[in-house]
Point group: C2
Chain length 218, copies 2
DNA sequence: GGATAATTTGACCGACTGGTAAACATTACA
DNA sequence: TGTAATGTTTACCAGTCGGTCAAATTATCC
């Protein structure tokens, strides 16, 4: 008799490892495009190349699949913000943060859209994560930024809205990819747009945040 | 015998006017939260306070409802960009654009989310609008910005990515509202966050785009 | 190789989906 | 006021939804 995966005390078998991986990969494909409500187990099963009951053997409900996916992706997703270093130089820290976030938008667009879909639809499944771990991390980094501003290393500004603006500008290239491509047209459709975006955003934020003092004329 | 609305040649009756309005209002509520696939006619019918077949009397399919909604909202949504004036002063034009976009995010968050959902899910219903009217409008305004840069009125930068960054930062407050609230916490949950955002964003973009020359020390 | 546990699937269920048919109710207008 | 057009609803349909079940198949270990 089959043992539902939650009940077992022993280690996961090789097959379990592989299949769960396969399923979550397919689930990411589907959920990231259609959101939770708009996705069906059948779609995921087809992408995963296995039967629906087989999926439900590894994850008892659609919700469990979604949950597992969110849990797995959330930690990685916050990595760039976590790497934000209080001891570092403000300009290079902000530059680095923008660059890392843009790289993630380029390399993991599905993950970005998964969260975007979820938050857009009212975050019914991740409210706790937003109000808990996420808020704490942002509070911590906001304090760092505020200290920099107080020390005159960057211009005085609201650190929360600064973080929001870095999130939104960078994730835009993953979440609104179709729109970006449509507006840029065929020519700029290669990966070059990420380099252009990086150049623009680094300039915007560095110049926009540096303290204005006597500078050589441009 | 009932005449499906598309077939009639005469003017719309008062009832048609009212009911279609009512339905689109409800449809906006539902589509903006769950996207096209995730929304059901039953949900819309319940919000609209009428029976499902009654909705289908006015709009023959779910798709027609969505289409009508998009068409109605798109024009309004592009208004701020259209108002962008080549003859104006660059700083005040950019400031004004940010302010207007933020006001729309505050006053019409459902409209913003409707588009966000649609684009996020690959824009299957509005691809033509993106590649056509939207691209043309952006191209036109990008040329204006490029001319400003060439004339030394603002710093040299990629006008497309500038527009993207204004879109993303402002719409963020509508589309990711739950997340913004969660991170800001209870205290900042009032409408004050829009004023804070406006202050931050205007500062960021104005300072980030102004040409660096000798300035008084801060 | 055989017993046992783990994995996979086809058939199925009740609820819901987008949409239809036709009867019924209401309105506009002569 | 009558009647034809317009508007509304109940009952329904075929297909899909998330999920179950039991039987069949495969891997594991002695």
């Amino acid at each position: 008799m089959a043992i539902p995966r939650a009940a077992k005390t022993q280690r996961r078998t090789r097959i379990q490892e592989e299949k769960e991986e396969q399923i979550l990969e397919a689930a990411l494909d589907v959920f990231s495009v259609s959101g939770f409500r708009g996705s069906t187990i059948d779609q995921i099963a087809e992408v995963a190349g296995m039967s629906k009951p087989n999926l439900l053997y590894y994850f008892r409900t659609k919700e469990a699949m979604h949950r597992a996916l969110i849990d797995r992706v959330l930690f990685t997703w916050l990595e760039p913000l976590r790497a934000f270093n209080a001891q570092g130089n403000p300009e290079s820290e902000i530059r680095g943060y923008i660059r890392r976030k843009l790289e993630m938008a380029r390399d993991f667009p599905r993950e970005s859209r998964l969260f975007a879909n979820e938050v857009l639809q009212g975050a019914p499944h991740i409210e706790d994560e937003l109000k808990g771990p996420l808020k704490e991390l942002v509070d911590e980094k906001a304090a760092v930024i505020r200290a920099w501003a107080k020390a005159g290393k960057i211009v005085k500004c609201d650190p929360y809205h600064l973080i929001f603006s870095i999130w939104s500008t960078t994730q835009h290239y993953a979440d609104f990819d179709v729109q970006v491509r449509a507006v840029l047209g065929q020519g700029q459709s290669g990966e070059g747009r990420f380099e252009d975006a990086a150049r623009f955003l680094e300039q915007l934020f560095v110049d926009g945040l540096s303290v204005r003092t006597n500078q050589p004329a441009s």
